[in-house]
Symmetry: none
Subunit: 207 residues, 4 copies
Amino acid sequence: MAPKRVDRAARREDVLDAAVRVFARRGFAATRIEDVAAEAGIAKGSVYLYFDSRDALLRAAFARVAARSERLTAAAARPGRPAVQRLADLVRGAVAMLAAEPDLARIMVDLWSTGRARPGTPPGGTAAPALDLAEVYRAYRSVIADLLAEAGRDGDLRPGLGQAEAAVVVAAIEGALVQWLVDPEVPFADLADPITTTCLNGLRPRP
Amino acid sequence: MAPKRVDRAARREDVLDAAVRVFARRGFAATRIEDVAAEAGIAKGSVYLYFDSRDALLRAAFARVAARSERLTAAAARPGRPAVQRLADLVRGAVAMLAAEPDLARIMVDLWSTGRARPGTPPGGTAAPALDLAEVYRAYRSVIADLLAEAGRDGDLRPGLGQAEAAVVVAAIEGALVQWLVDPEVPFADLADPITTTCLNGLRPRP
Amino acid sequence: MAPKRVDRAARREDVLDAAVRVFARRGFAATRIEDVAAEAGIAKGSVYLYFDSRDALLRAAFARVAARSERLTAAAARPGRPAVQRLADLVRGAVAMLAAEPDLARIMVDLWSTGRARPGTPPGGTAAPALDLAEVYRAYRSVIADLLAEAGRDGDLRPGLGQAEAAVVVAAIEGALVQWLVDPEVPFADLADPITTTCLNGLRPRP
Amino acid sequence: MAPKRVDRAARREDVLDAAVRVFARRGFAATRIEDVAAEAGIAKGSVYLYFDSRDALLRAAFARVAARSERLTAAAARPGRPAVQRLADLVRGAVAMLAAEPDLARIMVDLWSTGRARPGTPPGGTAAPALDLAEVYRAYRSVIADLLAEAGRDGDLRPGLGQAEAAVVVAAIEGALVQWLVDPEVPFADLADPITTTCLNGLRPRP
DNA sequence: GATGAATGAGGCTTCATTCAT
DNA sequence: AATGAATGAAGCCTCATTCAT
């Protein structure tokens, strides 16, 4: 029974892989279950062996985005080097990761709008477990805010930096991502440096 | 034969107003023609008196977003004051405008994903005049890059700044917007200052 | 008030003229009230000043077809010349009239199918005054059958000819019409002679 | 992956059978997809498993009419007996077939009007392979014209008969059909003899 | 009388989901 | 488990008809 489980889980991942690809290509709204099935090389009905509904597929894709984000911040939280450097690494790492996985990046943008108010959500309230994108970004900012504060105490950045500045750093990354997705000629990966230096210089102590 | 005292164009704007509100509330994908009609206080079929199709409504909404963006950059291009200041004004103006018209802002986010590969586009190819969001952002960056260069020549910012840094500035604005839309507790309007100072300080000449 | 009446009737005819042209061009099914209005050079709503409904327009068009048919047979019933000749004249006259008024002819073909079971007709039965096309053809055949019988008594055709042979004569005309309408290269007007001679020869007494 | 024991093609035929019945009963224009589905005993949406659109259903019905017509003329073209007799057989066969399949016959009449200028045809131009009814009748007349010419050489009919007389023969059949469809009391099947004898006698050599 | 804006019922088509095989 | 045929709810759009001006 154990191998069965593994198989099942592996198959599920395969389907999700396919879904992510199609979601990235056509967007959620335009993606039909059949598209996902075709991309996964299985029959339409078989998708339902692994996911309860179209919505569940969407939520699973969201979970991937969230997990990736978490992995990223987790790495940055590890101490051992100066906070400014860990911050710089975090920014560079985030850009690199988004650039390396454009499909997930595209889905994230879709989530920005879809996550807001899903059609399925009944006016009453208790819908499916919400795609808590807000929480993801809150955590993201928290980690950065902590690093900013620490770097402030280290004297590498201005003291007193907090949530607002963390939001600016996150903004620079996500905003650059948007421009790349909207216009593939924008060299997103190459923006890692300008983003890092601009933000960090901008937050240095005034001479 | 009398031109009918109902002003066609005004009525069309009313419907578009309604559409923008609903698009912002539910997203494009989830918005049905009937929702727009209800919001406008007219019958479903009446929407078609003013717009050829659901897609035309979407395109008109895009045009509003694009027009607003243009108004913004046009103001910044007017000379008369130092480039750094005009740049700072542009950033603050952009944030203020987005904060003041959250509906259009939300639609813009929808456009980021929808604009990519619209489902409506017939396989044949030449559909309606594409929602050229890329062009909007290209123009946006251009204006900012010009200001950066000018400020460089003024000695207010580093010399040699260009497209990349312009992208970072745009990114900071749009990225902050995203965080606000995803999480209304993010004080977007208040981020105008942190964004402006961080970016401009970060681009100052090194002492 | 009298001139008003005349005006009104004349306008009504104008609208019907327009309707006949459009019906002939696009067929009933594909003709919208607006098409008729445009062809008549009036507004959509004005059509309803002269006709109660789309269906009434159709019925009026039918009436024209029927009236024309009646005029035709009426002429043939007038005595004074040998029956065979009146018969030949009737056939030639029918062809000439149909060829001269292709619009009405096209409408007649539409009536063959539409007249059968109009959508509006409730399953129960009592719909609008039916388009009694059957009656039109019955009268048509009657007149011809009478002429055949008379020509039989005259010794110009075989005796004992009746409804069946009348149907064949009518058939030759209407069937030729169909071929012309389906394929404009068929020289309908020129078929008057072949139809007349074939039928009349075919009904001559055997030598 | 098993080919599913339901034969797709057979099922498609079933649906087409149902469509033909409904088309015959209500006419094309008045037939909704739901009517066809109900007649076939399936759900509305299921019709689309077998036909791409309402129009495709119409075209398939046309194909049946055309195929039947072809079968008929093919039989007549086979030599072996005198041409006059084959001609007589063709006429009788045509009437018998039309009388035996009144549904297809009714559809044919619908095609006479629908085939002309189908509403479905996009303004662009090249829609689906047009319902080339003209071609069907052209072929029909050709076969008959050949038989007439051969019978002329045999001395059974007048020499020099051609397209015009062929049109008259076709006309007699189709025209009789019309009268029957318009008025079910017309004994169409019994008209086979009057048509045959009238036409063939009418085309005999003059004594 | 004329108009044409407004209405809303109705038809076509799509597609998430189910289920018999 | 896997399939894909079948379903039917929903959404887009059209157009006959009404009605205020």
